[in-house]
Amino acid sequence: MAKISTNSLNLWYADFHALKDVNISIEERRITAIIGPSGCGKSTLLRTFNRMNDLIDGVRIGGQILIDGRNAVEPGVDLVALRKKVGMVFQRPNPFPLSIYENIVFGEKVHAGKISRDKLDGIVEYSLKSVLLWDELKDKLRKSALSLSLEQKQRLCIARLIAVQPDIVLMDEPCSTLDPQATARIEELMRELKNNYTIIIVTHSMQQAARVSDDTGFMLLGELIEFGKTQDIFTAPKNKQTEDYITGRFG
């Protein structure tokens, strides 16, 4: 069964119809890329999976989003539980102005209340090891997270997320502020992480989608135009618009 599947998902920002009858089915422990030109609704789609769009006034959602078979958009959904399960990495690395340590244990502290120091230490070590930062940072866990490089910050944000033990990781253009080397390393990390997590990445860069993802969806003007194996999408797109986009004729 699909990890996430949507049933004629529609979304409006007030009068603007941002998602139109989107039907997508995302498999577990794979990297799914969503590509498309600016304003096509790819970030909006991503943000429906953890209901972050709810923060915007005037949003209406129709249809279904089934996550492990349960509808995430029906009234009365436990948003806290949903967001623990479906974590998010943002475009700009955004650590809190706290120490590295405090950043990582933030989620755990909020969710578990009082927990032992040992357990927290364990979480910090595990999370930092998962993002390959442990060796670099293990001696300066008390330093401010704002003193890190951009790449380290983004890794830290991923570690902060891993500490909450999500099932699904949403990434909203996670490399758009990074240089090519850092981007390559984050992509490497994503391949590593897909052994344990289902990853959905929104990206501007077709090359990135081609490099890193297993499945790719192409969106245009709020519609999911084509969805399939990344290899198929990039080598033999079925849709004319997909072909035009990936060959660089617009976008």
Binding site: M52, K84, G87, F90, F96, P97, F106, V110, R160, V164
Partner: protein, 282 residues
Amino acid sequence: MRNTKRTQKIAFFLMLLATLLIVVPVGMIVVIIVQKGLPAINWQFLSDIPRQGMRTGGIFPAIIGTIYLVLGAIVFALPIGLLAVIYLSEYSRDNFLTRIIRLAIVNLSGVPSVVYGLFGLALFVVFFKFGASILSGSLTLGIMILPIIITTSREALESVPQSFREVSLSLGASKWQTIRHIVLPNAIPGILTGTILGLGRAAGETAPILFTVAAFYLPQLPKSIFDQAMALPYHLYVISTQVPNVDEKVRYGTALVLLVLVLFMNLVAIIIRYRFRKKKKW
């Protein structure tokens, strides 16, 4: 071409003049008050009760009275102001009701202080039967500084980047947890600054305490919040206009103490703001 240059020069000169005009009175106030008041300042002046019809002795009860009033005002105004501001800027949506509330807050800050005094007299002294007391005076001052606390705290909350809230929520924190663990800690310096500025204002005002608490002459310290108290601004008014033959240096000495108290609070606010700005990097 030369003409534009000259016009520009004249304009800049006028602006400089205007700027100097602002600085001059401030400097002169400080210089005159320090010059005339400093000779009066000694330990007895700061620690003794007024004697001989307030012509000699000290101003200790007035200093203590002012400190009580200021503390009372803060105990009342800070919790209410903070809760209101969290509601307004984090929870409430923009609708007719909240716009009315915001308008009311703006207007509250424009009310003349003597009107607060009359209001405090009618509500606290007479209606609630608190009498002329520290309680009535503190509540009146508290209401007067509410808009200052609300306005500055709101700015402080709004200066916390939206992305912090988003991340926190995306990690599964509830709205209240986000406010408690992320928004408030980052807004505290701003809130503190506003609070202290409000305190400075409360310490210096005469009109609101005139009918609600201030005693003309009270040679002992207040024993409870239902007692009357002396207060520096009112004491200054009294010895300047109501009591004949008060030595000039006593008057200026009192003014100096009040000025130092208020400036000190403003200075603390400035230091907090400055240190916070240096630390803030996002």
